[in-house]
Subunit: 276 residues, 2 copies
């Protein structure tokens, strides 16, 4: 059994490319259709209503492309509208950004104290808190909103005194509260992994959501016999769509993707709307 | 002669409230109709096309309210689409964010070297460079994009080691190049005025755009006899509209406005579209 269709990935911007990188690393034989809502990025500072409207529109665009699975790469989007998306999906698996990494965290924590670093909207939604308690009611979640991490990453300041000071500011509480696992609950944060790990110290395990999303995707495709046939090895191509393209985005996309970026194809918002 | 109509102010988000604060400080008898496009904020990282589409829609919303003057508070918006707006305005004066402060800078510079701190989109548009040369061809502009300033302000970190390090990073080049005037070309930056002034030193004059926009508005209304009649002193009310309201915005609005914020009224994007 095999399935040659691409994996769909939807995100609020370009950060979801860190998830695409891990998906293609875990399954080099697969291809991806990506949509990043760069016209409304960042979702982290928007109202739930705006996230719902723009996020559903983005998800529907990807679902309109005959994908074999939908990955919601953005934690903010996952925290607000995963249930809404699942109501419109009947025949393909849906993977959000939150459950895979929380399962990994719950399995690894020794003292049942799990820290979460995320955007303001993700933290306000309390989605991680809820899912952590659902997966292991004994676990205690500690959340911290980190609005400066995204622009620091977009400025390329991963390894700077500024990044270290900001990481100290955001992580101090989680260290004090004695968490032994910290989840990076935003697609941008993996680029700050080293700085954050250095800040919290070697006794705290820092988990990158992207890695666990990719593992979950591979497990599911393995279970349903949904991998791409080996014979198509040389024909694989991925497609990257966005709702706005500004000059700085190309460079940003390459940083997230980990290699020079392929074409970012712009989709007019009205086209996306029409596809609803 | 007098004119009881309100002054219209359009902005990409809430930062334009720093301009409203200066307008009402310069003309306490006036009232304002404000629209902030918080559903698409920040404009600084978008394409020209997106800024044009969303900015025109926002300007038209304000112009639909019988205002006696339109102030474009956002530098990014001013740099990209002031000409487009002026083509749709026939009977009321239009004030952009750029010309008033550039005139003040050109009058004050001793060595004809003017620094500009702004968003990526403002700097990429080269609008300040062009207007500085138009106003005084002998002046040399030095621009620097400062993407971290906006989120630092939104995090309330005006007076922090993080703000100082970031200011040093952004201002070092302008100091080296010997500028004697630095323009704060974004509505958010006045909240970092002290930190920036401290960073560049007392020999460099830092100019806040909001102040000069307000002075220009007062001069124009004075010249055309357009002030509100004194008798209406106690009836003045301002209206603040936005395209999205998230929990963090209320607090942010108060910081920009300099006092506890009045109601932010949400306008549905579709309503704005209909008003075109």
């Amino acid at each position: 059994m095999s399935d040659a269709r691409p994996i769909g990935v939807v995100d609020s911007g370009l950060g979801g490319l860190t998830v695409v990188k891990e998906l293609l690393r875990a399954m080099p034989n697969e291809s991806v259709i990506y949509f990043g809502d760069t016209a409304h990025f960042p979702y982290g500072c928007r109202s739930e209503e705006a996230i719902r409207r723009n996020g559903m529109q983005s998800a529907r665009f990807v679902l309109g492309h005959d994908v074999k699975m939908l990955v919601v790469a953005c934690s903010t989007m996952s925290s607000v509208l995963l249930d809404d998306i699942s109501k419109e999906m009947f025949d393909v698996p849906l993977i959000g950004a939150i459950v895979p990494v929380v399962k990994a965290a719950a399995k690894r924590t020794m003292n049942k104290k799990i820290g979460v670093l995320g955007t303001a909207a993700t933290v306000n939604s309390r989605a991680y808190e809820k899912i952590i308690r659902d997966i292991d009611p004994e676990c205690k979640p500690y959340q911290k909103a980190c609005p400066l991490f995204v622009p620091i990453v977009e400025e390329g300041l991963y390894d700077s005194e500024i990044a270290r000071l900001v990481a100290q500011k955001y992580c101090a509480g989680l260290v004090e509260q004695g968490t032994d696992i910290v989840i990076l609950a935003c697609t941008h944060y993996p680029l700050l992994m080293e700085t954050i790990q250095e800040t919290v110290g070697a006794n705290i395990t820092v988990l990158d959501s992207a890695l666990w999303i990719a593992r979950e995707a591979r497990e599911i495709l393995h279970a349903i016999g949904g991998f791409c046939p080996q014979s198509m090895d040389n024909e694989r191509q991925s497609w990257f769509y966005v709702s706005d393209v500004a000059p700085t985005m190309i460079q940003c996309a390459s940083a997230f993707f980990g290699s020079p970026m392929l074409d970012l194809m712009k989709v007019e918002l009205s086209e996306v709307e029409k596809s609803i």
